[in-house]
Amino acid sequence: MSIDKEKIKDVAKLARISVNEAKVDSLTKDLNSIFKFIEQLNELNTDKVEPLTSILNQSLRSRKDEINDGKIREKILKNSPKKNEEFFVVPKVVE
């Protein structure tokens, strides 16, 4: 399967990465060579194989319902590129 430029732009949109028009060609070339490599898997018949969900053969461990975190607003906001005393601030979202 080959991936065209339009598809790459769609995927980039989905991944929220703007792609420089000048770089689309080389990106298309790279991705196609990678996918050609990946598609070796098609040689294998895996109809009867169960997909692996976890490499660890154990059940999910749970924790007790206790409040032992939070109340660290200053630390939570500290690294934000744009904030005020209480909130993270982002450009307006239009619904």
């Binding site: 660890l56 924790r63 409040i67 939070g70 450009p91």
Partner: protein, 489 residues
Amino acid sequence: MSKEKFDYFIKGEKDKYEVVIGLEVHAQVLSKSKLFSGSSTKFGADPNNQVSFIDSAFPGMLPVINEECVKQAVRTGLGLNAKINNYSVFDRKNYFYADLPQGYQISQYKNPIVGEGKVLLDMPYGSKEIGIERLHLEQDAGKSIHDMDPSNTYVDLNRSGIALMEIVSKPDLRSPDEVNAYIKKLRSIMRYLGTCDGNMQEGSLRADVNVSVRKEGDKKFGTRCEIKNVNSIKFMQMAIEYEAARQVELIENGKKIDQETRLFDTKKNETRSMRSKEDAHDYRYFPDPDLLPLKLEQKLIDDLKKSLPELPDKKKERFIKEYGLNVYEANVLVSEKEISNYYEEVAKLSDKKLAATWMMGDLFAMLNDKGLDISRSPISAKHFAELVQSIKSGEISGRIAKEVFEIMVETGDNPKKIIESKGMKQQSDPKELEKIINEIISRNKDKVDQYKAGKEKLFGFFVGQVMKLSGGKANPQLTNEILKKLLKG
């Protein structure tokens, strides 16, 4: 109650349409801490003060599941008569939004914790079963605040990571009334179980509403639209009415309905397309590699089942059998756990049927008036039972009871004390009544003569006079008897 016929259709110019509704209810799980972190879930805290590095998706942070949230989901599943899955998987639902810090929501996709179940509704046209498709656990998102700044959106992550149960119904609902009944029933079950407080104002219960229409009699479903995040029953009903009418109009004009996500604008009372969600449909679900499959021991499920409280349907049956209530009364009195508890306490100490009548009448009216839950009623169940007993025994009349009730609301005193201190006890001594009646007869000779001459309507006048003179305390039944006897004489 007389059985009515189901009749909710949208009448177009050409045809009559049936409305098909399915709900995805998002119910916040009652737990102290969040689904995957130890921060508090308490409502109304200062912005971003109940946020851990996990909830705000800092680099290297990992989720660890809260066992109570798992149990709450299982309890709810059991309450919905649903299949509990011993094996379930947490998946990532990937999309970008300012209040979704991870860039994905941890949810359950192919393997939910709870499978198919059902909910029974009592409708005026009989009982109706609504199928439950599934229930799964997922994380709530934070909140974007758009109205605090003209050019920016503020983000508060306090809600981010609180456990939600998404309860997906089958497309079995057919009218706004059924939606109302369904939400109330779900909420009632979860409140009985203590798994969700059902508080719609605080957003702990909200729903996505799937609406489609089809010509009456058609077997095939129409194209559906999903109305996102509606947070009151009234708005759900309004949104459904608007959306169904919109779809009918499109069909009748030969236009196509797009399967899409819509938003209900509560100010304009209309639904409109949510363009911002359009390209976000590809959620790229895959099993969350930070979590392992959740394997539930059958013993845990069995133990939870044993510890479930009596739920509304069972309680209703018992109320009918044990207390001799009719279906309507039983339905009302089991609708909330606190109401049913109050009723049972009253019924234990007084006349069961009369207790039901008085609760559903004066007590509910007063609570409604004051905007109070029954748990905050100014009249305790014990006092209320005493009041009911005073009526039943004939100690006070219904009319006096209303006065006593008013005073009880104001003072919180017990009814015995009020009746005694205010001398409100019913006059049931025949000799005393005769004295009063003779007095009235002697004062109104002319009316007595007219009565004897056949103007029997005047009987009411005499009753009124007796009541007036006795300060309303005369036993009405006895008054009637004695009055009749003496007027004849």
